[in-house]
Symmetry: C2
Subunit: 308 residues, 2 copies
């Protein structure tokens, strides 16, 4: 009757877009979702909150792309564990001024990516306010019991690899990237991955997670770091390297394997994506980068840090 | 060195406050948390986002109370399923102007309530921006397999009960309430609960969830609705009833049981809290309320609706 559009209408619309699909899972429609967990599996949980003005702006982002990114960054966390996405909970703080079509467009971006990755939306919370858009996703993944890849398994001598190319994500990649779920699963089948993270804050920062949790150090080879063509060719060599080390939001995978497995990956890359050996794990507990002239400098923790 | 306070420092502080405790659960410190689910259990998932200016304002709220409320409303969703809280993921959008002590105070409110309910904080996402405070909680609960109480189990003839008293929550209750987890578990042991919800949007609105999911109706008795002393005595009888029906944020439990179980509950209330029979489930598919003069009016869906 009225043209006003309520939370319940949006939820009803979402339910129609997302028929229940998974076995042993009851989704939207109760106070909570209910999952009877599969035997011999472990469950993975992560959450990320994306805010307008910080993680995306309109334009260049569209509401669909903002919604897609909010889910994609969470899927990327599962990929970093070599987990399989399963289900997700979506919370929205919607700007009142933008109306229900904006809300649906955000959800459409989420729903489309959810379908691509067989993720069932099992709950959420929709609100509106006078503030900017905020999207929170909490994601649930599944892996065979004890098979998730942690940050803490790196050992001295491990070779450090990275997928794809790094830097310049803000030119568009951060709104378009596809999380590397199947790539992580393929790698995890091909070799024994000792440790892995996804690159969200930047190589220099995210590598530190592996080093801290594993109590090890690293020596990177400056000339090996794969710099993305998204980083301007007009910049100096040093500036281009800095972009690759610290731009953030690459959402590539950084992982370590034994030298034997490393050689195997170099001789026969099981992925359709490029992988590059960029250095080695050391026992020194600090990270250094070796330059073409043979000098080594400390790899500053120069990635993106959220200052409070 | 610098006085700046970063995301990683806050996460480190949170890790120190919340030592890992639960079996088969790896919490903060990796791309995701990892849970090896207990056998013969089902997992429950819910999420709620609270925004400054909508769900709390400073004052009367303190940062501790805002944090506490964000977790409490999620725990209440688990109570409504007769589930046991297990773990939670916390996302924050922190106003830059308020600094790190404000962030810690919010987390302290969350951590204190988490300890009360044996909830392990297993992950999250902290951000800062120029906008108001936003807190998102995603909660994980556990129940014995197939023992969660759904909204869909009400049958005609069921007696409708409510715990506690309703209305006037905004005078302070919404910042102080204790989620009724143990009450739900005790009720679920004492009788066969057919359906249950927690009262977050208001009785008139939340009862509709049970009616819709169960394909039934209801007849409420106006004189039986327990009106909270938080609702001013100076208001008319009709206005006071309206507050009890639609104020929202009571976080009491609304549930239905067979008449036999209802009689048992009335003769021997197993809870330290008051419970009241407020009506019956009918087959009419609509909700009516019976007034002292014997007339019946349609129970308007007069609870809080979030308009987008």
């Amino acid at each position: 009757m009225a043209s006003s559009f309520h939370e319940f209408d949006l939820i009803q619309w979402i339910r129609e877009q997302c028929p229940s699909a998974k076995a042993n899972l009851i989704g939207i429609g109760d106070d909570t979702a209910i999952l009877q967990p599969p035997l011999n599996s472990e469950l993975l949980f992560a959450t990320d909150m994306l805010m307008e003005g910080t993680h995306f702006t309109f334009p260049p982002a569209t509401p669909e792309r903002a919604g897609r990114k909010a889910l994609a960054v969470n899927i990327s966390d599962l990929a970093a564990m070599a987990g399989q996405p399963h289900s997700a909970l979506i919370s929205l703080a919607l700007p009142k001024s933008r109306g229900p079509e904006f809300a649906k467009a955000i959800m459409q971006g989420i729903i489309d990516l959810a379908k691509e990755f067989s993720i069932q939306l099992i709950g959420g919370d929709t609100n509106s306010w006078d503030g900017p858009l905020v999207i929170n996703v909490a994601i649930i993944g599944i892996a065979p019991a004890s098979k998730s890849i942690k940050r803490s398994g790196a050992i001295p001598g491990d070779w450090i690899f990275v997928t794809g190319e790094l830097g310049g994500s803000l030119t568009g990649h951060h709104l378009n990237f596809t999380p590397l779920v199947s790539e992580a699963l393929i790698l995890n089948q091909a070799v024994a991955i000792h440790s892995m993270v996804d690159l969200s804050d930047g190589l220099a920062s995210d590598l530190q997670h592996i080093l801290r949790e594993s109590n090890v150090g690293a020596l990177l080879d400056a000339t090996s770091i794969p710099i993305s063509s998204r980083v301007s060719e007009n910049e100096s060599k040093q500036t281009r390297l800095q972009h690759a080390l610290s731009d953030g939001e690459d959402f590539e995978l950084l992982f370590t394997v034994s030298p034997e497995d490393g050689k195997q990956l170099l001789s026969q890359n099981p992925l359709p994506t490029k992988i590059t050996q960029i250095g080695e794990i050391t026992s020194r507990q600090t990270a250094f980068i070796q330059h073409p002239d043979g000098s080594q400098t400390s790899l500053e923790d120069s990635g993106w840090k959220h200052e409070l």
